[in-house]
């Protein structure tokens, strides 16, 4: 073989080798970029979902685009895996030969994520739907809206079809989009069908067959949802299968992005505004300032996101309340209450000792209380401190909690309990009706604890001085001294005019007793 031929052989083999090297490096770079989250991963469409993906790619490309970005797509979890349903499920329907349900519930997610679902079920989040019978809901359903529908009082130009007003709209689009609706199916006769009618067992299968027979379907046999209750991704949604909540409240469908769930903006769908501005409070705090500056270095795309291992630049809501950290073996919890030692939700802040069902223990007798407690607030605080001490010394954290405790006790003792006592005295003497929000002082008291009082307490809990003071305690104090007390006294004045002197005196003594206390003495007595 002469040299010329060998030259050609060397040239061809060399080029082949270089070409293979380019291909290998390309594959290597693509793989590395996927691994480090710099590029989207490869997608695996399971056979069972192939036709779903092909069709919905045309019909709803946004759904498929989101799903393609999910870990589900990477792992081959397709549409059917989540949407599959049993024949006896109330909302099941045949969709091109597959039994599926539109609404995916925590019970469905628990097929693959049992631990997460169990933690979530214990959480206060899962109980968010309980607001449906609360004061807040009365406000939305009755004061702002109407429990039912009524006729419009004049035509709406351009919309002759509006013949009825849905009085529940404010509740449905406001409260229930965060707290969760009670999902209902339209009925062929009678009221819409909910979980109450279906009475499902632990496996989610309805036990009330009669209710199933009343489900209204469209021409294709698909059960029709009551549009007042769905779409809804409220965190405490009351589902037809008896489960509570909606995983997509935090893990937005259909990409279920961990990156998004780690960011405070995700929580801000609900945790903001005048009555619980946690997102704004976080932004004001040093935590939020650090997060804004350093979020690009926080490994938010990482597969794991363990504080102290994968990042430590700044915390987000998830960091403190849910995510794993280096001191708990990286264990994530889906119960955000596991690390919270006070609840600032009610008018008077309560120590968050919880019972076996995760409910706040309100028993005051120490012995009985201890027997009821399943998870002590002090243990919850220890869990939070384990997070805090990734960035702060134990002395610093202890001192903060000392300041925080002092603040809550001050709020409770100076304004919350006194306000509650005055309102109770007025109610007991029937100077105000049992009905809520029909008297000015009830709005005043509601603003005091529900808006300003919570702002102050949440501000203190997350180290936002402006929310603690100017948006918080300053307004609490103004509301108390300049509105609550004067309005209460005005009610008593009217009572005396009506000849109810004794009752008015009793309430007056409550008010004066409060104002004679050292902390209030500056107001009238000094």
């Amino acid at each position: 073989m002469n040299l010329e031929i060998k030259k050609v052989i060397i040239g061809i083999l060399g080029l082949l080798f270089l070409a293979s090297l380019v291909i290998v490096q390309f594959l290597e770079v693509v793989r590395r970029r996927e691994e480090t989250g710099l590029s989207s991963h490869s997608i695996s469409v399971p056979d069972s979902s192939r036709s779903c993906v092909d069709c919905h790619q045309q019909q709803n490309p946004g759904i498929i685009a989101h799903w393609e970005g999910s870990t589900h797509a990477e792992k081959g979890v397709g549409c059917v895996e989540c949407h599959q349903s049993g024949e006896s499920d109330p909302d099941t329907f045949d969709h091109y030969g597959v039994d599926i349900a539109t609404v995916v519930t925590p019970l469905d997610c628990s097929r693959c994520h049992p631990t997460e679902a169990a933690e979530f079920a214990q959480s206060h989040h899962a109980a968010g739907g309980n607001i449906l019978a609360s004061l807040d809901n009365f406000l939305a359903e009755t004061v702002e809206g109407f429990r039912g529908s009524f006729n419009p009082h004049s035509p709406t130009p351009g919309r002759p079809d509006i013949q009825s007003v849905n009085g529940m709209s404010s509740s449905l689009l406001g409260c229930q989009q965060c707290h969760g609706s009670k999902v209902a199916l339209q009925a062929t006769e009678g009221q819409a069908i909910t979980v109450d009618d279906l009475a499902p067992g632990p496996d989610g299968i309805p036990t009330n067959v009669e209710a199933l027979s009343r489900i209204k379907t469209d021409a294709n046999g698909r059960p029709l949802f009551d549009p007042g209750t769905w779409p809804n991704t409220g965190i405490g949604r009351l589902n037809l299968d008896g489960s509570s909540g909606s995983c997509s409240a935090c893990h937005s469908r259909h990409d279920f992005s961990p990156r998004r769930a780690r960011q405070p903006e995700n929580c801000a769908k609900c945790h903001l505004g005048p009555d619980h501005p946690q997102k704004e409070i976080f932004e004001e705090s040093k935590h939020g300032v650090a997060y804004r500056d350093l979020k690009d270095k926080m490994n938010l795309d990482g597969k794991d996101w363990v504080l102290g291992e994968d990042y430590a630049q700044a915390p987000t809501c998830a960091t403190c309340h849910m995510s794993g950290h280096s001191r708990n073996g990286g264990k994530v919890t889906h119960d955000p209450g596991e690390r919270i030692s006070w609840t600032n939700r009610p008018p008077v802040s309560l120590v968050l000792d919880t019972d076996i069902n995760g409910k706040v223990v309100k028993e005051t007798d120490p012995v009985k209380r201890k027997a009821l407690i399943h998870d002590f607030a002090i243990d919850k605080r220890k869990r939070m401190k384990n997070v805090c001490t990734h960035c702060h010394t134990p002395d610093y954290v202890d001192a903060f909690y000392s300041q925080y405790d002092d603040f809550l006790v001050l709020f409770n003792e100076k304004f919350a309990k006194p306000g509650q006592a005055i309102m109770k005295a007025l109610s007991d003497e029937e100077f105000i009706s049992k009905k809520q929000f029909d008297e000015e002082i009830e709005w005043t008291w509601f603003y005091l604890w529900h808006h300003e009082g919570r702002r102050a307490r949440h501000g203190a809990s997350m180290m936002a001085p402006d929310y603690t003071h100017w948006h918080g305690m300053y307004e609490v104090a103004e509301r108390f001294y300049q509105e609550l007390i004067p309005q209460a006294r005005e009610i008593l004045e009217h009572a005396r005019e009506d000849g109810q002197d004794e009752a008015a005196d009793r309430v007056s003594s409550v008010i004066n007793g409060i104002l004679s206390r050292p902390e209030h003495s500056w107001f009238e007595n000094d």
């Binding site: 060998k6 052989i9 293979s20 290597e28 691994e35 480090t36 994968d310």
Partner: protein, 351 residues
């Protein structure tokens, strides 16, 4: 100037003409083709590795608790750290690729034959040392894949009959990947292996200098009247090498900037990744190991490397037996196709 010149000459008794004679070896005309000058490329890339490696070593901390963080610090916080780390990574890739190309050229042109058989074996040793340097360097990042790659590598070594367990212990500084492993890898990567390579490179190049470059005469060159002639090493060939070096630097900078070295998740001994892959230059061996059962694969691979080492003598024996045999060329073609095929196979499949 004369005073300085005399001062130097007194201490370094080498005259200008002696220096010219030393550096100005006549270079065969075929080296005017740039693709024949690629033998210097690995050496050039090796120098880049030494320089960037020293810069990285200023910040790297070889322990399981600090390694990953120090690499992250280099990548994200140190001024130009990402650039030098990326240069280091890509120069390693190009260095191994250019060694393979160089070896292919030497093999197919028969330049390994007597009296250059010893130098072939030195070159083979350099190739093995380069691969070992690549292996230990990749492990230093202490990310999931590098950790598990090293663990798998050690387990493969463990399969070698008789010596396996000892080799694994020597490699990992214990029975498993532990606190001492990274410091061992670091010392190997940053001191023992490069120093050995420098020594062997000096011998390798000295032997080329002493024996001269193998001369080839292409018909085209002969037609042009350049066949069999020579040209000056300095400045003609030297400038060609400088030119190749600059092109390489541009290529490296391009790769480092467009495809910078990134970082996977930190090593977690408790979580085995779904897909474990070594660096690309071990794909061929990795795929080979997957094709056969443990010990058979190890022994056959060892045999292949052994044959490669001794090839000049085996080839000589074959040529003595069958005069004019082109067996080596056909075997070489087969080997290159196997290298390319197994590497691509491993690259394309997950497991």
């Amino acid at each position: 100037m004369n005073t300085v010149g005399s001062w130097l000459k007194e201490r370094i008794p080498v005259s200008g003409s002696q220096l010219r004679e030393f550096t100005n070896e006549p270079v065969p005309n075929h080296l005017k083709h740039w693709w024949f000058c690629l033998g210097g490329t690995p050496a050039y890339l090796f120098v880049i590795q030494i320089v960037t490696g020293i810069l990285l070593a200023f910040y790297y901390e070889p322990s399981s608790s600090t390694a990953y963080e120090s690499v992250r610090y280099i990548t994200h916080d140190v001024a130009y750290g990402w650039y030098f780390r990326s240069l280091h990574k890509w120069a390693a890739t190009l260095m191994i690729a250019s060694i393979i190309l160089h070896q292919m050229r030497v093999y197919f042109t028969g330049s390994y034959r007597k009296p250059r058989d010893l130098n072939w074996m030195i070159g083979m040793t350099l190739l093995v040392l380069t691969l070992m340097t690549g292996f230990t360097g990749y492990s230093l990042v202490y990310e999931q894949l590098s950790y598990w790659g090293a663990t798998v590598g050690a387990n493969i070594a463990d399969m070698v009959p008789v010596l396996g367990p000892f080799m694994k212990r020597m490699m990992l500084a214990g029975d498993s990947y532990g606190e001492q492993t990274l410091s061992r890898f670091f010392i190997l990567h940053a001191a023992v292996l490069p120093v050995s390579m420098v020594f062997l490179l000096v011998v390798h190049i000295s032997l080329i200098r002493l024996q001269g470059v193998t001369e080839f005469q292409f018909k085209k060159d002969q037609a042009k009247g350049e066949g069999g002639g020579h040209f000056a090493f300095f400045p003609d060939h030297f400038l060609m090498e400088i030119f190749i070096g600059l092109v390489l630097m541009i290529l490296l900078s391009f790769l480092a900037t467009v495809v910078p070295a990134n970082m996977g998740p930190e090593a977690n001994p408790l979580v085995t990744p779904e897909i474990i892959k070594p660096e690309w230059f071990f794909y061929v061996a990795f795929r080979w190991l997957k094709l056969f059962s443990g010990t058979a694969a190890i022994l056959s691979m060892g045999l292949i490397v052994f044959v490669m080492f001794l090839w000049p003598f085996i080839d000589a024996a074959i040529r003595r037996r069958w005069k004019g045999s082109e067996f080596s060329v056909w075997l070489g073609i087969l080997a290159v196709f196997a290298l390319i095929g197994l590497t691509l196979w491993e690259a394309f499949v997950a497991h």
